[in-house]
Amino acid sequence: MATFIQGTDIGNAWLHAFEAIHANGGSIVNLAVEISDPRREDLGVRRSIEVALMRMNDSEKSHQSIHTVANTIFPIALYRPEIEGAAERFIANALKSEFSRRHAISKQWGSYLGRLVAYPSRDGKPTNQLEFVLRQLRSGPPNFSDLYEVPILAPGKSDEMIDWDGEARDNADSVGAVLHGDVRADARWRGGPCLAHISLTLEAGAVSMVALYRRHSYIPRAYGNFLGLARLLVFLSVESGHDVGNLLVVTGHAVDDAPGRKHLLDSAKENQGEVADIEWRARSLGASWSDLELATVKSSK
């Protein structure tokens, strides 16, 4: 039986989902988590997770901070909405950062941001899905209010087939972005990419998002992924002139397979309630980001 969790903010949703996974013996098949206000998070819950991650770090495994995990989907340091052409600048910089990663030793399969701005289509030509999705959201009132999912992008297809200025433009109110590449390259047991697809719906002036994961490790990854998706949703909403809707994260296999999970659950419950706006834009130029790094997380109960 599938499990459906509803949360008011990122921290609240994570905690309810984590509690459900724990109660089910550490694993749930088909878990859907709705975050009604993805612009808000719970800093108390977040701190509990980061303290747990620090405790799990050892010489062989070093976990990333929640900010770093969120950066894999949407790096806020590249987004300055106060600058004219902010979205185009973000996309251009994201492409440059992917260029820099191409020769990195630890580049692995790539990054979610890379899949968003330079999806490796089968014809060898990268597709800029983020640019495409944003253009679609900006394109005007939708004509087909009942058209909830349109497979606009698929491996091997190009957005050039759409005539943006002509009468025949396919004006849909939902758009999708594929993040899981060719099954021959991406079908690994573990290690990513676990985020396979993002679907956006524009309804009643708000953009809502569904994200599909094949597998989600709830202690090291889920909170950061929720935050990264929320940042991306805010970016798309702000840059297309719409409100932020809700976020639904669907996971095929959700697990909490790390040691110390009972302690983390107790700590997160005790520390919950510190609800605040998420950080979704760059800090002032030259400002430190060190408070978001794992090593500097202050001790928590």
Binding site: T68, N71, P75, A77, L78, R80, I83, G85, R89, N93, K96, S97, F99, S100, R101, H103, A104, I105, S106, K107, A282, L285, G286, A287, S288, W289, S290, E293, A295
Partner: protein
């Protein structure tokens, strides 16, 4: 640090500031002002993703591959000063800068 490293260091710093200006959509003077107001190169922080962008731009300027933040520890690229120190040894000295 050798004399040639000093020279390359100055040129590399200039290239990084130029890359920052391009990435941020500002002019070089505005970036230099921000660096001064932050307290100098050692106190001017750069996020890892922005560092990737800047390094990519410097790679184009120099025509060679440079270290990627993906391969580095956080404290190796956190400030402008750290990025310059990181990049200088990776630049072939024979390059005319």
């Amino acid at each position: 640090m050798s004399k040639i490293d000093e020279v390359i260091g100055v040129a590399t710093r200039s290239a990084i500031v130029q890359g920052l200006a391009e990435a941020e959509g500002l002019d070089v003077e505005a970036i230099e002002l921000e660096i001064d107001q932050s307290g100098g190169d050692a106190n001017f922080y750069i996020d890892s993703k922005l560092a990737e962008v800047v390094i990519a731009l410097v790679e184009v300027m120099y025509g060679c591959e440079l270290p990627s933040p993906a391969d580095l520890k956080r404290d190796q690229y956190a400030t402008l000063e750290a990025i310059v120190s990181l990049i200088v040894p990776a630049i072939p000295h024979r390059l005319e800068i």
